[in-house]
Each structure stands twice: as C-alpha cells, then as structure tokens.
Symmetry: none
Subunit: 304 residues, 2 copies
DNA sequence: CCCAAAATGTTATTAAAATAACGCTTGTGC
DNA sequence: GCACAAGCGTTATTTTAATAACATTTTGGG
C-alpha cells in the first residue's frame, strides 16, 4: 500500500448497517469528508447522479468523462473505503434490487409515458425520431462535400438570421476550434464587404436558415456565388430556393414540431459535422485546441 | 481474426428487430443456433437467468462460474455477434433504443468510411441516449419550478458566455415569442445594471453555462440573488457550484461526447421548456405570436 | 471401434486497467 | 508573500482480462 495514499480504517465496508447498499454509497458520497476538494465534488456529484451507470464504467472511463486523471478516481474510491472500483461494483451488486439498468431503461419508461399521452415524453420521442433520421443525411454525398468544404476552405463565413442566429454563432464558435479563419457575419454594416470583396480565393459561406426565411438570406447566397464564394446551405425542407442558390444544399428533415420548430436537430447536425471534422483532421485539431485553450487562459475569462 | 473462430456475418447487431435490447439478447440466446452444444446451453441458460448481473461480470468470471474456459465464453459471444463482453455490455447499457439505423452498415463514401460511418452512428446514438435521459429532468421538481418561474417572472434576463452564448441567445429569442420582457444580457457595459439595479420586483435570471465555466457566471449569479433576482441555472454535471448560487438548478446529464461537449442536448432541453410554456399559456401565446408575426412583416426582414 | 469434424481446454501473447512513486500545482496558514 | 501541506497529474510498473494459436477431448456416423 502506498504511504501517500492510505486507505483509512473507517468508512467503506466497515459499516454494517445492512440497509440498501446504494443508499449507503450515496450517503458516503454526500458526506463532507468526501466533498472537500474540487475534484472530490466532481466525482461525488457524478456518482450521485450516475450510480446506475457505475457497473458499466471503469475508473478510467469515469476519469475521462470528468476530465481528471484515473489516479484521482482511484484515490477517491480508496478514501471511500473501497479498494478500487471493482470492490464498489461488487458491493453494488450485492445491494442489487434497485437497478435502473436492469431490463427497463429510462427510455423504456419514456416509451410507457408516451403511450399514456404525456406531452413532454411525446416531444422527446419526436426529437429522438428526428435524430434517427439525420443519420440518412450523413450518408448523402452532400455531407461529405460539406465536410470537405469546411476543411478545405481558406476562410469560412457563417451567417444566419433572426432566431437561429444564435445557433449559427455557436457553430462558428465551435468550428473555430477546429480551424482558423472562421467568422460569423451579420452584414450589419450593410455590405458584407469582408465576405464579398473577392480579395481571397477559396472562401466559403456557410448559410443557415429555416422556415420563416430571412429576406437577406437568398440575395446573400446569390451575391456570394457571383463573388466566387462557395455556398453551403443548411436548411429545412421548406426552403423553396435551396439548391438554386447554393453549391451544396443540406436539407435536414423533421426539424419542426407540432408547436413550433425546434433547433435541437440542427444543433445535433452541427455537432456531428464538427465531430466529423475533428476525426478527419485529428492531431491537427488537438494542437489548435491546445493553442486556443492557452489563449483562453490568458484572455478568455474562464474560471479556475 | 482467427480462421477457426469466425465471426459470422449474421446475428448480433445486424438484426434490426427493434425494441428492447435485453429482449433482443434474450431472443438471440434462445435461438437454436446458439444452443447447440452442451456449453452453449450452459451459457445461454446462464445469460437468460442472469442478464441483470452481466454488467458486473467478466468473461472470466462467467467461465469460472460455469466451469468452462474463458475462451468458450469469448467464442460464444462472438457467435452472438458481439466482439467481446464489453460490446454486449455497452449494448445493455444503451438499454432500449432501436438499433435499426445503426445497422444500415457502413456509409458508402470515402476511404475511412467504415470507421467514420460507425463513428457518426455512434455519436447519433449517444445523442439519442442523452435525449432519453433528459426525460428524467422533466419529471424533477426543478423542472416545474423553472417553467413556473419563466412564466411568472416580471422580467426574464438570459445570460451565457463563450461558446454556448449563441445557444442562450436562441433561447432568449424563442422565449420572447411566448412572453414579453425577455432580454439577453452580456454585461459588456461592465455592470449588468439593467438586471441588478433592483428597480423591478420579480425579476428572473436564466443563466446557462457548461464546462469550462465562465469566470463571470458565478459572481453574476451571486450578485443577482443579492439584488433580489431569482436565479435559474441550466448547466451540466461538471458544475461544482451549481446549487449554491442558484434558486433552481437544472443539471443536464450526458451532454458531453467523446470528442467534445455538444450543445444539442441543451438545445433540446430549451425547446422542451418552450413547448411546455406554450402548452401552459395556450392561447395567450398564440395571440402574442400573431402580434409578433405582424411586427415581423413590418420590420423583420422576413421573406415573402 | 475407428475416424473425421466439431467443441473445448491450454498456453502464450496482446490489450487494457489500476496504481505506486515521483514531481508539479494549488491553496492556506502564519 | 512565503513556506508548508494537500491535491493532482504523469510516467512506469503491476495486475488482470481477452484472445489467437495450438493441443486435446468429445461427438456422431459408419
């Protein structure tokens, strides 16, 4: 045993209260003694909320999720009184009888509630169905073209209006982690000169618009193409002029609900694009992320 | 791959019969093809009776229990169509989602397709799992409190920073369709005076922040509460100071991927909130939407 | 009873997780 | 601020599980 990481003689299995095991673990995890440092709280919190998932986890996987080192998890478990995650697991196993993971998952109860006509369950179900559909998009040739375009362009300009403007800004923000020269444009100066002045070859306009289309969108796309800018359009199935004004037109189906159109599916599509880019660019992205993380620490107003 | 122990092209995930995963596994295990030899039946029987225990087992431990060699277990799992027990476990973990589309095989595109196809499908699956989980949030008391607060407040201020800023702006934009006096605040004037000056009772701060937390977020929440503003915090499971600084703390689990943290789940949560509000406010919202639609037509730069 | 084919066990190798030892960072008391 | 202690990450090592390749046993037909 490591002298630096002693296993205390109290706590853990020494308790013999005989009650429900997961309750005991939760109680342990909630005790002040195990929430002292920041990562303590992180881990405690994670266990508290994901106790049903623990059987599937390893110390390593938890560590990765929480962005700490596996050692920290190991030390924490030892402070809890368990000699490694396996010991905690077998304790959980004995305690049994509470298992959310058994046959019914959370999704199963979701299904149940949906049948009972609960509104939110139905909406979630619809979101899920939508997500199932977007897999089809990733197999379309336009998908690969879009990825290639986003990677290959010298400069990327992202544009969107009205209510989905924020979503596109998010995309631009995330995209800039994977490559340089990404900019959100709003044309508030009235000209879009930065995009349309033709001073750089290989520019790309990533235009996002959905129903109740913005008046500016179509002319911008047309003008961009005239200026030699490649245009990617991400839109929904209601766009009447999609393919005409764009080089690559990605149509996301089903991104509209009974009450109104949600942006969740679009966000998922964007996240998928980013993931795909990361996979393709690999280490190149890691380096850039490191650089940006450093810059964040210097200028970024991030915590800690 | 071992020529003696081929993994057949049928079986396992190739089936897309839909429905609950454990059902699928049980069905597999009961098929004649997987009960041919003596140990086949032994293993099949064991899985059938102890499927809930599987997450705690290893191939080795099962083997020991059944007095066969670990190899036999491994081979059996492979015949089932799983590449090792871990793959079966992760299937079980997913619980209940329909793998129909996961199966559609490799996407027909460029070289790395198989890998990437799998990857994207996996990411979508993860999104779906996340969505399944958010149902749990909607049943939490905090959910209803949040909805009530969003409806009941005299003024709503939405705040977020860095990369999720756009997402929150989207939320603010959408929320303003359901009720008046919604504003996104960024504190760029350095004071947040509009929010903190105490000139109006019943104000609400809707603060959204996720990992790599903004340095501004925590102080803003604290200051807001001091100024008598109710604080709703929408965050992920990594927030160490969530409940301390907020009146209502909504924690969205699983909004993080292997590559990075996506915003799709958060967007879905927001859309759900909006839907919930619409349902509760009913006609009141319709009227407001009509009004806003009219205003859009006059000022809004919308098409047609 | 024998023989071929299938099934299983054994052994050696590979892959992966846990952790001890060390060093850096962070926070905290004076 | 400064110094000491606690917390954490990193690397190298140990331990454990999974599996390919080979050896042995079992099964079923003649």
């Amino acid at each position: 045993m490591n002298a630096r990481d002693p296993r205390p003689s109290f706590g853990g299995r020494e308790f013999g209260e005989g009650g429900d095991v997961s309750k005991r673990i939760l109680k342990l995890v909630r005790s002040d003694d195990l929430r002292r440092s920041k990562s303590d709280r992180l881990i405690a919190h994670y266990i508290e909320r994901n106790i049903a998932e623990l059987p599937f986890e390893t110390a390593r996987s938890i560590a990765q999720r929480l962005q700490v080192s596996p050692m920290t998890i190991g030390r924490y478990l030892r402070r809890m009184g368990f000699d490694g995650l396996d010991e905690l697991k077998s304790e959980l196993r004995r305690g049994g009888s509470n298992p959310a993971w058994e046959v019914k998952g959370p999704v199963a109860s979701l299904e149940q509630d949906r049948k009972e006509g609960k509104l939110l369950a139905g909406l979630i179900q619809q979101q899920i169905d939508n997500l199932g559909q977007i897999y089809a998009i990733t197999s379309a040739p336009e998908w690969q073209q879009t990825i290639d375009a986003l990677i290959g362009a010298t400069e990327v300009y992202v544009a969107a209006y009205q209510n989905v403007r924020g979503i596109a800004q998010y995309f631009a923000s995330q995209l800039s982690y994977t490559r340089p020269r990404v900019q959100f444009v709003d044309g508030l100066n009235g000209t879009y000169a930065e995009l349309l002045d033709g001073s750089v070859e290989g520019r790309l306009l990533f235009l996002h618009d959905v129903r109740r289309f913005a008046a500016k969108a179509r002319p911008l796309a047309l003008e961009a193409r005239r200026a030699g800018v490649k245009v990617v359009l991400l839109t929904d199935e209601f766009c009447p002029w999609g393919p005409e004004v764009s080089d690559i037109c990605l149509i996301v189906p089903g991104s509209h609900g009974p009450l109104w159109d949600g942006a969740a599916t679009m966000t998922a599509v964007m996240d998928l694009m980013l993931s795909n880019i990361i996979v393709l660019k690999g280490d190149e992205v890691s380096e850039r992320v490191d650089t940006l993380t450093h810059l964040q620490d210097v200028f970024g107003d991030f915590e800690s």
